[in-house]
Each structure stands twice: as C-alpha cells, then as structure tokens.
C-alpha cells in the first residue's frame, strides 16, 4: 500500500535550469581566498626539512600554513583523533596533506601547492594485505562471531570446500568534488558551508580546530552533488582548513579539491581478502561456514571498525548458517584511509557468501539458484550474531522474480547454447543473486534524529531536519511526510538546508537511515503542532469533534476553514506554531565485542537477475539484461525509490566489473582520474533494465511502513559478477571453478578463461 506519490525531486526545476546551488556556486565576498593542500609523495617517512619559500612567493599566495601554525587541534578524524589535518612530522601515505596554501584564486593556490620542497626520510611502508599481515599492522585485535559448533560441524559435513576471494575497493566519484567554505563572524564565530553528509561532525571538528565550543560554529549544507559515504568523514579536512585559514587571514576562505587531489587524498571503499571454508550436504545445504576477513583500512582508523563489523554482519546475506565462525582483521597500511562507501562493508561480506554458494553449486553440478533456495532464511532462524529473523520475504520475492524474468528457461537456453558451441568466442552467462541488508547504525546511539517545523501565520510551512540531501531524494520524501500530516499540497512546505543551528546533535545521513529517522522526527513535530491546533479548536469552537487536516482544510465537525486561516486564527490566539520533533529507533541492542544482539531494526530485501555476454578473446563484456525485484516496504515515493535501485545496481556492478584501483609498489595510486579509473558510462548500463518494487509493508513500525533504500540495491550488482563467472566458466577448463576476483575486469576474465586444467594461472 502506498500513501505517497512519485513526485519529482523537489529541486528538479532548479537542477534542470542550473539554478541549484552547490558549495562552489554560493557567491563569496570579493575578498574571499582559495585554498589547496601540498601533498606527500612518499608513502611513509619522517619529514626532515621543509622549504616553502617558493610557495610563499608564488603568484597570489597570501599565506602558507603548516602543522606548527595551527591555532588549536590538528585533527580531522571522525573517530579516534589519529588523523592530523596537516602532517605532524611523519607522513603516512602518498597524498597526505602536509601544508596549506592560501591564495587569491583556486588556480594560484593549486600551482603554489606544487612548489614546496619537502624532504622526507623514507620509512618502511606497509602497502598490501600480505605486508600488513606479516608486520601484524592492525587497528585492533581480531573480532570474532561464533554460532554453534563450526569446527565439529565442518568435520562431519559430507563435503567441504575452501577458497579465497580478493575484493577490490572503489572510488566514490561523487560528481561534485569535496568542497567547503568558511566565513568569519563577529566574536570569532565561524559560519561554514560544507558538502558533507555530516554537518554536526564538521561543526565539531571545526570547533576543535579553532579551540571554540560547538555553539560558536554553524554549519549549513543545502545539498551535495553525490556523497555515497565519501562525504561522511572526508569533508572534515576541507571545512577545518577553511575555518583555520579564515581565522588566520580574517577573510572568507573556500576550498574545493581538484578531481586529481580528491582521488589522491580521500579514502575509498575498503578492499578485502576473504578466506572461506564451507561444509555442506549432498543437497547443498550449508552446515558450517567459516570466514576470515582481511580488511585493508589505510593509515588512519576513520570508520574502519564499524565498516569491518558490518562486513561480518552480512557474511550470511540471506542464508541460514547453522554453524558459523567469522573472524575479522583490521589492517593498517600506508594508503589512503579507507572510509564509508554505500553499503559500509556489507557488500564485501555479501560477495563472500555468494561466492561460497556459487562454488558449492559448481561442485555439486547444480543451478546456483537451487542452492540459494535451499539455504534461504526462514523466519525464526537466527543469524551468526544471534538475532532472530522475523521479517524475511526473500523466498517469495525470489520466486516472483525468477518467474517474471523467466530465469529457468533462459538459463537452460544459455547452457545448451554454450555446450553446443564450445568454440564460440562469445559466451553468455546468467545469475540471480539475493540481498538482505540490515537497517540501523550499528553504533546504537546514532539511531536518533531531530526536526524543526514552523507554521507561519499565512499557513506556509518551514521544514528542517537533521538529514542531508545528496541526490537520494530525502528532502522530497520528508516534505511529503509533512504535507501528508498537514493535508497540504507539497508546495506549501518549504524545504530548507540542513543547519546545525536549527537541529543540533544530528547523526550522519548514512546507513540508509535518512528517511526512516528524519521522516519519523518530522512526523513527531507535525503531530505536536496538529495537537496544539486541535486543542485550540476544541476550546475555540466548543466542540469535541475530532479535528482533521485534509485537502488544505482544517475541520472539526461542522467547523471548517483553510489551513491558512486556521494558522492565522491560532496565531492570533497565541498558540505556538513552532515545534521540534524527535525519534529514536526502538528495539535495537548490540554488543560488538561479544557479537551478540539485535543490531538492526529490520532488513530490506531484494534480488536481481543479470545476463551478460563475454568476448573470450578480449575479455570485453556487456550486460544484456537485468531484472530486479526490490523490497522498499510501502514506498514513500516509488519514482525516487526506483531511481535509487537503478543507480545502486549500476554502481554495484561497476564496483565488481570495471572499477579498478591500482597502487604501484611505492604506494602511489595510479588510477587517480576518470581517464584511468573506469566509472560506468551510459553504454555500460543493461540493455534491458526491468525494475519492480516488491509488494510489501515493513513489519516494523517505520514511517508509513516504508523501508530504507539507499544502500541495499547496491548489492544487486553482485548478480553481474556471478553472471560473468557463469559465462567464463564455459570458456576455460570447464570443470574448474572460475574463481574470479573482484573487480572482474577484462584481464581478470581472461585469466579465468585461460587457466590451466589444474586451476593455476596460464599467464
């Protein structure tokens, strides 16, 4: 059931005319300055000398700042204060900011930033997972989840397989690069505009870097040109740099990373190695699963611990693991500090268990879908972290999708075609993969949100909440909630920028939680206001009839007036027309060290069928068709939700196919521009793309029984990876499992095609 309409994105009229403002579009005062960082070109080392004279005397340069010049804290970390904004004697990766240039223009700042002469005495650099394991370089001791008796269940299982998969990272490539500005205010206060998913954290970090209490800093974010997790913590450095530079020069300052700098400086999705061992019976029913995650976290802790936790929490995906052991190693390396990215570790966990299922199917000579079905959760079963599953719809959802996409017949046709033409150069493949994704921040206290709603005397409504808009349509959805509550058309609701001065102490807009949390907080504020108007009506009109807010009218029995008249009347009778709202997610409880509890309020489900074709001479490939059925509960806005699903799928498929990050043996990221790092283009999207919403309502009491949608569809892209595996499985020595690593680039596909009969690489 849908309460809500597929209204276009609230800012669509602004976007199509170019009138929507991003940070770099906000007019700055005439005397504003631009900033750029000077970066380390050594992966690990001690700074022995710094000659910045050439930088200081370069065209347009006003000042140059090093760690020693900072007025207060030198830290931009979102977690454990281990991330200096400017290197403090030691550099930890290539791309680390060492000094800050303040100049009259963006270009002059960037040019000058290249002129620094920094002498660095190299120290041994730990770059790879193997090097980190060998050096025992880590952020914390391994975390483990244990369920049942995995060791004995493994031994007694009729069949066992073990293996390993490498899973690459991913550059966010939000189309709008990182950007911020700071305007000094009276009394040392600072007004910051930041392209951030987390204005409150920017407020905190800026306050610390200026040595001010939080109340002296105000952060405003109207929108981002994409975030995907990359602006959850990575925006801190720019905002702090602007604030410090503004303090030192007493002039407004703006900073935007050039794309190259953005890719060199900022963190990306974590890459993983996952070793697995699985015990199963003749039907492919899993009996015991053991996984060992090696997570390359980069040089600073950032959000790596909860990311690695979420990977563990998704190592079951949609499958019941009767006995399980999951171990996770959080490795510290001299590379960019890996950070949040859509799915927050979940996708890496899901990739591993899908690999296990696929390999079990190959071993047994069965269609992987049969193995998937044999292991789907039934309600009442428990996860490896001892949470009981109560809302699973995965089995009926997959049945419906398999039928609608004609999966079985298409798979048969592809298999017989491939068998009949063993020498054909083009090979097709098809796969169906499911997703079950846990919704809630695993750090329980983050699951709260606030809202502020004003009704003005003319009946127009001003709406504010703690979430940020990055294109996901959050502001539209939340405005729809307010419009629905007041019975008003959407254009009576003014959507306003996220602002730490209006709603304080917010959580990042992350974990897909934006509309769940903020929608509820706004509803709470609307209920308060409606309650006040209703109480006033009861006295004013001496009626005990229920007060309704519908179709722009307020009605109590025979008394009826427009919402605008009701607002005006209430104002004249001294009724407060401003209210805050608040929401805290119920039921959740999580002990991460013990690996026990209910970290998630509910799960979102979905599944995708992808068909691909691979050229086995070149590794080139295409997605021919994709069918998706996804569960968003009762949708708040079907058009926006479907857009999230389409975009999430393409981004997920990109991660596992074309998007490859390459560091050289010095630790230098060689893929630092879209010319070398392949973002999916229009020609990469599926030729046929069918997306449907699954008819469902959230079992939990969420905003109008909807479900979160930002991250879960990302994992639907895993079906493309498995379709490729299916295709190349027919091309190589056919009884050997293709054993693809991610991303399945053309090179990786060719490696699978030309493997020796014993499974080793032919070249």
């Amino acid at each position: 059931m849908n309460h809500m309409k597929p209204t276009p994105h609230d800012a669509a009229p602004l976007h199509v005319t170019g009138a929507a403002r991003y940070i770099d579009d906000i007019p700055m005062p005439k005397n504003a300055l631009s900033l750029a960082f000077g970066l380390s070109d050594v992966a690990h080392g001690k700074i022995t000398a710094m000659d910045l004279d050439a930088v200081r005397s370069a065209d347009g340069v006003v000042a140059v700042i090093t760690a020693d010049d900072l007025p207060a804290s030198n830290d931009v970390s979102p977690s454990v204060h281990d991330e200096p904004m400017l290197a403090n004697g030691t550099v930890h990766y290539i791309g680390q900011p060492i000094f800050l240039v303040i100049a009259d223009t963006h270009l002059n700042a960037r040019k000058a930033a290249r002129m620094g002469k920094v002498e660095i005495q190299p120290l041994p650099a730990i770059l790879t997972i193997d090097q980190a394991i060998a050096a025992d370089s880590k952020f914390e001791d391994p975390i483990r989840f244990l369920k049942g008796e995995p060791d004995s269940a493994m031994k007694s299982a009729p069949h066992q397989i073990s293996g390993s998969i490498e899973i690459g990272g991913q550059e966010h490539f939000y189309l709008e690069g990182q950007a911020a500005s700071a305007l000094p205010q009276e009394n040392g206060d600072m007004l910051v505009h930041s392209s951030t998913q987390h204005p409150t954290e920017v407020q905190h970090k800026v306050a610390e870097s200026l040595g001010l209490p939080f109340n002296a800093v105000r952060v405003e974010t109207r929108r981002m040109g994409g975030g995907f997790g990359g602006k959850e913590s990575q925006a801190n450095a720019l905002a702090c740099a602007c604030a410090v530079a503004a303090r030192i020069t007493n002039r407004p300052c703006k900073m935007r990373y050039d794309r190259d700098d953005d890719m060199m400086i900022t963190g990306k999705r974590h890459d993983f190695r996952i070793n697995y061992q699985v015990g199963f019976d003749d039907d492919g029913t899993l009996q015991s699963v053991m996984m060992e995650h090696f997570v390359r976290c980069g040089w600073a802790q950032d959000l790596s611990l909860p990311v690695a936790d979420r990977a563990m929490l998704h190592s079951d995906n949609a499958y019941h693991l009767p006995h399980a052991k999951i171990i996770s190693h959080r490795l510290k390396t001299n590379t960019q500090s890996a950070t949040a990215y859509r799915g927050f570790g979940g996708p890496q966990g899901v990739v591993a268990i899908e690999r296990v299922i696929d390999e079990v199917a190959h071993y047994l000579g069965r269609d992987p879908l049969e193995i998937r079905r044999a292991n789907f959760y039934e309600n009442g079963q428990t996860t490896p972290y001892h949470m009981t599953i109560e809302d699973s719809v995965i089995a009926p959802l997959v049945d419906q999708l398999a039928k609608a996409s004609d999966y079985a017949n298409r798979r048969l046709a592809i298999e017989s075609e491939n068998r009949a033409n063993p020498d054909a150069i083009l090979k097709r493949g098809i796969a169906l993969t499911p997703v079950k994704f846990g919704i809630s921040f695993t750090l329980t206290h983050l699951n709260q949100a606030g809202a502020l709603v004003h009704i003005y005397a003319d009946g127009s409504v001003h709406l504010n909440h703690g979430g940020t808009e990055m294109g996901q349509g959050l502001f539209t959805k939340v405005a729809q909630v307010a419009a629905h509550e007041f019975g008003l058309p959407l254009d009576m609701i003014k959507i306003t920028a996220s602002d730490t001065a209006k709603v304080p102490n917010t959580s990042a807009t992350a974990a897909s939680s934006g509309s769940d949390l903020n929608g509820m907080a706004v509803r709470d504020a609307c209920h308060t206001l409606k309650g006040r108007i209703a109480a006033f009506f009861a006295i004013h009109f001496e009626t005990d009839a229920a007060v309704e807010f519908v179709d722009g009218m307020v009605r109590a029995g025979s008394h009826e007036m427009t919402f605008a008249d009701a607002a005006s009347l209430a104002y004249q009778n001294r009724i407060s027309l401003s209210a805050t709202g608040f929401y805290a997610t119920p039921k959740i409880k999580w002990d991460r060290m013990a690996g026990r509890g209910r970290p998630f309020f509910y799960f979102a489900y979905g599944a995708a069928v992808t068909e691909v074709v691979v050229d086995t001479l070149t590794g080139e490939n295409r997605i021919l068709r994709t069918d998706i059925l996804h569960d968003v509960g009762a949708s708040l806005n079907p058009a926006i939700d479907i857009g999230q699903i389409e975009g999430g799928y393409v981004q997920g498929a990109g991660w596992l196919t074309t998007e490859e990050l390459v560091w050289d043996d010095k630790g230098n990221l060689r893929t630092h521009a879209p010319s070398t790092y392949k973002i999916p283009a229009c020609s990469d999207r599926p030729r046929v793309f069918n997306v449907e919403l699954f008819d469902n309502e959230n079992a939990e009491d969420t905003i109008y029984r909807s479900k979160a949608v930002g991250e879960p569809p990302f994992m639907l892209g895993i079906s493309a990876f498995h379709a490729l595996s299916h295709a190349v499985g027919y091309a190589g020595a056919s009884d050997i499992y293709p054993n693809l690593n991610a991303p399945a680039t053309p090179e990786e596909l060719l490696r699978a095609v030309y493997r020796n009969a014993d499974g080793t690489d032919a070249f």
């Binding site: 276009p8 800012a11 939000y174 857009g643 999207r685």
Partner: protein
C-alpha cells in the same frame, strides 16, 4: 591579459582575462553563471558542457580566449524565457532524469546538441545512438536509465516544438 568579447545567452559579454583563463572559469567566476559545473577538470565527465556556436563543448578544456566572438549558450540560457523550460529541461524534470543534479546541466546541453544534430541530418536518434553519444557524460547517481528516457522524451518534444 587578453580582452575577450562573446555573446553569452544572447547578451554581449566582454572582459579582460588572463591568457590561461578557461571558458568554464569565465562563465562561472566572471559571469556568475554557476549552472555549468566542474566535475573532473579534465574533459572526462561532461558536467561542464556548453554550446559554442551551436555545438556542445567541454568548457573545462577550452580557453575563454578561444571563444572570442562566439555565441555561447549555457544551461541558464537554454529556455526561451525565464519562466519557461526548454522541452529537454522539462523532460529531465518529469522523467526523474536526475538525482543529485550535478551532471544534469551538462547532460541537458549534450542532449539538446545531439537531438539537433540528428534531426538536422534526418537520422533517427535510437536508444543505441543515445548510449553512444553520452560516452562523454558521467552520471554517478542514476544508472542512466531515466536519463535515456528523458532524452527520448525531450527529443520527441523538440521535434514537435
């Protein structure tokens, strides 16, 4: 410093700019037309596409001086009047052809150029052709599905317009 003169969105514009000023810088910083975006700085993403003498160009890779005497149209100047939307703008709005919107102006400028070229050449703008023509425009949000839909819809309205 060079003195440049051009027509931007139908209005004469001239200024003294340094020789290395990029067209996108001139449009954004000097003329304050900020609908033209910079996504990659290196001619890869298409966020900065404008029309120069009726042709789609990536303004991040063109010097302002190279547009001397040219007719430049940015997304702000596409519609017939201030209160109007160009059919392609309307199509992107109605077909949900955007999420974060950062790629949108460039997409719309590329799209109108492509439709015009195909129409003038009497060629059919097939879905395959749109895919191919959009090679130089990246969208990280939408997965392109609604962008292609928008362009098809916009194209049909541009014919009848």
């Amino acid at each position: 410093m060079t003195k440049i003169t051009m027509t931007v969105n139908g209005k004469a514009a001239s200024a003294d700019v340094s020789d290395n000023t990029l067209l996108v810088e001139y449009i954004r910083e000097h003329l304050r037309l900020t609908g033209t975006h910079v996504g990659c700085d290196t001619s890869q993403c298409g966020a900065c596409v404008v029309h120069v003498n009726g042709q789609a160009m990536k303004s991040c890779t063109m010097l302002a001086a190279a547009a001397e005497g040219a007719e430049v149209t940015t997304v702000e100047g596409l519609a017939a009047s201030k209160d109007d939307l160009h059919p392609m703008q309307l199509a992107f709005k109605e077909n949900h052809g955007l999420q974060c919107g950062f790629c949108t102006p460039g997409m719309i400028m590329t799209a109108t150029d492509m439709v015009k070229r195909y129409q003038e050449a009497g060629k059919e703008l097939t879905e395959d052709a749109i895919r191919h023509e959009l090679e130089g425009n990246i969208c990280r949000c939408t997965g392109y599905h609604n962008i292609v839909k928008s362009i098809q819809d916009g194209a049909s309205k541009m014919t009848t317009a």
